[in-house]
């Protein structure tokens, strides 16, 4: 960072029109001779001033803590060290070997992956179908559907979780009443506790997660679908393509980048579901409801082993980095990062 850069770190400053004379030649290419006007000389420093606040902010909240996470995961940072008495001992890979050797950790990983997969498949599948359906309906129906989606979307996560907790309440929940009415089996359903069996409990949690994620998927996919050129679709069907053929060879290639983006984001989000489980389990999730995020949390804040928590978080990051790399490659391929 040069001195000129740091000056602009505060509020956005009016950008000087005068070409800045600096020693920096960012691209390494000297603007020799009259290059076409696109490469303006005054642009050399300006973009760096523009991105500086973003870089500082990201470094402070992401990069630095991430480095700290790595460091902490090689230490043993308990409560005592946190409050400043005593040195934090270095333990090398001990945290990692402890975690990786713990069958409970692998159970949590398995649970997280299965839960994420089911949520993503359901969200993307149902979301895409609804978006396709939106193309086929009358304008007023589309408006009604959009309003419903936005109503669901705008529901804060914690509010949605409260509603689903209420719906699935064992004594006063609507789900139990409806099931009793429909099946006529009151003994079976009235007072049924959905969270005694983690499979059933995760069923309710999945319902909440998928319901909450669908609006974003539908609205994004619908926006992508409206970008598909109508003439191409019509030409294809005139040429005798079936509805599926049109979709497969005309529609899908256009919407695929958006689909990939949304699906990848869903993977990340659903891998890290926290609040939904947290609130549905009344702020005290049982061990069989712990996904990686909750597991890391409870290690760090309940067992006050921040290093264990950090190591688990770091392993989670490494697991997700595969998804991140795939996502980046997709973006580069589609020219989003040019």
């Amino acid at each position: 960072m040069t001195a000129a850069d740091t000056k602009a770190a505060g509020p956005p400053v009016p950008v000087p029109r005068v070409p800045e004379k600096t020693g920096i030649s960012p691209s390494g290419q000297e603007a020799d001779g009259p290059r076409p006007k696109k490469r303006r000389k005054k642009g050399e420093l300006l973009p760096y001033l523009l991105i500086l606040p973003a870089i500082l902010a990201i470094a402070a909240v992401y990069v630095y803590p991430l480095i700290k996470t790595v460091i902490m995961s090689f230490q043993d940072l308990g409560r005592a060290a946190l409050w400043g008495n005593g040195e934090t001992p270095w333990v090398g890979f001990e945290q990692f070997t402890n975690i990786l050797g713990d069958p409970e950790f692998w159970a949590v990983v398995g649970r997280t992956v299965v839960f994420m997969t089911i949520c993503v498949v359901l969200t993307m599948g149902i979301g895409l179908l609804i978006a396709l359906m939106m193309l086929k309906v009358s304008t007023w129906v589309r408006l009604v559907l959009t309003v419903a989606l936005i109503a669901a979307w705008s529901m804060p996560l914690m509010v949605a979780a409260s509603v689903f907790r209420w719906l699935s309440d064992s004594d006063y929940g609507l789900i139990n009443t409806l099931l009793a009415d429909i099946t006529g089996n009151e003994d079976r359903w009235l007072g049924h506790n959905w969270f005694l069996d983690p499979w059933q409990g995760f069923g309710i949690i999945t319902l909440l997660v998928v319901w909450g994620a669908i609006p974003f998927v539908v609205i994004t996919m619908y926006a992508a679908l409206t970008q598909v050129p109508k003439e191409l679709e019509e030409a294809a069907s005139l040429d005798g393509a079936t509805a599926y053929g049109v979709y497969r060879y005309v529609t899908w290639p256009v919407i695929k980048p958006v689909f990939t983006m949304v699906a990848t984001l869903s993977v990340i989000w659903d891998f890290n579901v926290f609040g939904q489980i947290w609130l549905l389990r009344g702020n005290k999730p049982e061990p069989e409801y712990e996904t990686l995020g909750l597991y890391s949390f409870s290690k760090a804040f309940e067992s006050t082993s921040f290093s264990q928590g950090s190591a688990i978080a770091l392993i989670t990051v490494l697991m997700l980095s595969g998804v991140a790399v795939y996502y980046l490659r997709q973006l580069i391929k589609t020219g989003e990062v040019e």
Partner: protein
């Protein structure tokens, strides 16, 4: 965003009868879907207006027998309601405003200039989005603790601001590159300064993008729970989402009041969505027209 897409409107009269019947089927299906999606919202509102004896009934009915505001009265009287509103407002609004300014600057740089490190910056932005919040939670907590940022609004604001920054930047960049450089250049030829060109030409065209990005930022900040729960321990500084927990005690949950409180919390978000939605539609459809 639906009303403004003319794709299915015009050719309605030339549809053959079988396609008309098809549309009826899709319409019904779509209305059922809308009903299912909206049901939890309906249940939230209805439960908040139901008398308590119906809330605590083993036989739930889809329609309330009578409506009352008792639940709202209990919710509003709950400790720290006013301070929770204040906390949520301060934190969300500041984080969104700050985030939008920083994201717009970065988006302009990425969208308009080719500079060394541009690609790397975009990749970093995309990658940090992939980081799970729980991974960041522990070091951020420890760091804020060291800096005295626990129980302070600024700690939460900084976290929210940065967590929406990458997505907002990438989104606004999408709008930036859709604005032809020539527009800006001709404004400057006509005597605008670069700032003037930005204010008069770029900014108005960017507004839908900013609106859309600010939805995400605001909803994120308003809805965030994990960091708010960990970084704020002082009851009088709880944000609304954390405050919701106070309806659940050892003796059980006051669902009526919880639903009423939840309804109150959702109203600002719904209103914001409704205001911004039209702008978003403009943005999306103008993008669609351009192809």
């Amino acid at each position: 965003m639906s009303a403004s897409t003319p794709t299915t409107n015009a050719p309605a009269q030339v549809l053959r009868p079988d396609r008309k019947r098809n549309r009826l089927g899709y319409n019904i299906l779509a209305l059922v879907t809308a009903g299912l999606m909206a049901f939890p919202v309906y249940w939230l509102i209805v439960s908040s207006l139901r008398p308590n004896h119906e809330i605590r009934s083993y036989d739930q009915t889809l329609w309330p027998s009578s409506l009352t505001f008792d639940n709202f009265a209990r919710a509003v009287k709950q400790d720290n309601f006013a301070t929770a509103i204040q906390s949520s407002l301060i934190v969300s609004v500041t984080a969104v405003l700050g985030g939008m300014i920083i994201a717009t600057l970065a988006a302009l740089a990425i969208g308009r200039f080719r500079f060394f490190g541009r690609k790397a910056l975009m990749m970093v932005m995309i990658l940090v989005q992939m980081l799970p919040p729980t991974a960041m939670l522990i070091p951020i907590y420890l760091q804020l603790n060291a800096l005295g940022g626990i129980d302070e609004y600024w700690g939460l604001i900084v976290v929210y601001l940065v967590s929406t920054l990458p997505f907002a930047t990438i989104m606004i960049r999408g709008f930036v590159i859709n604005i032809p450089v020539e527009l800006e250049e001709s404004a400057m030829v006509d005597g605008c300064t670069r700032m003037g060109a930005f204010r008069r030409v770029i900014f108005p065209l960017l507004a839908p993008g900013l609106a859309a990005a600010s939805i995400f930022a605001l909803v994120n900040a308003w809805n965030e729970y994990l960091f708010a729960y960990i970084l704020i321990n002082d009851n009088s500084k709880y944000t609304l989402n954390v405050w919701l927990m106070t309806f659940t005690t050892e003796r059980g949950t006051d669902y009526g009041a919880l639903m009423a409180a939840s309804t109150l919390i959702s109203i600002p978000v719904v209103i914001f969505f409704m205001i911004i939605q039209g702008k978003m539609a403009t943005g999306l459809t103008s993008g669609a027209v351009k192809g």
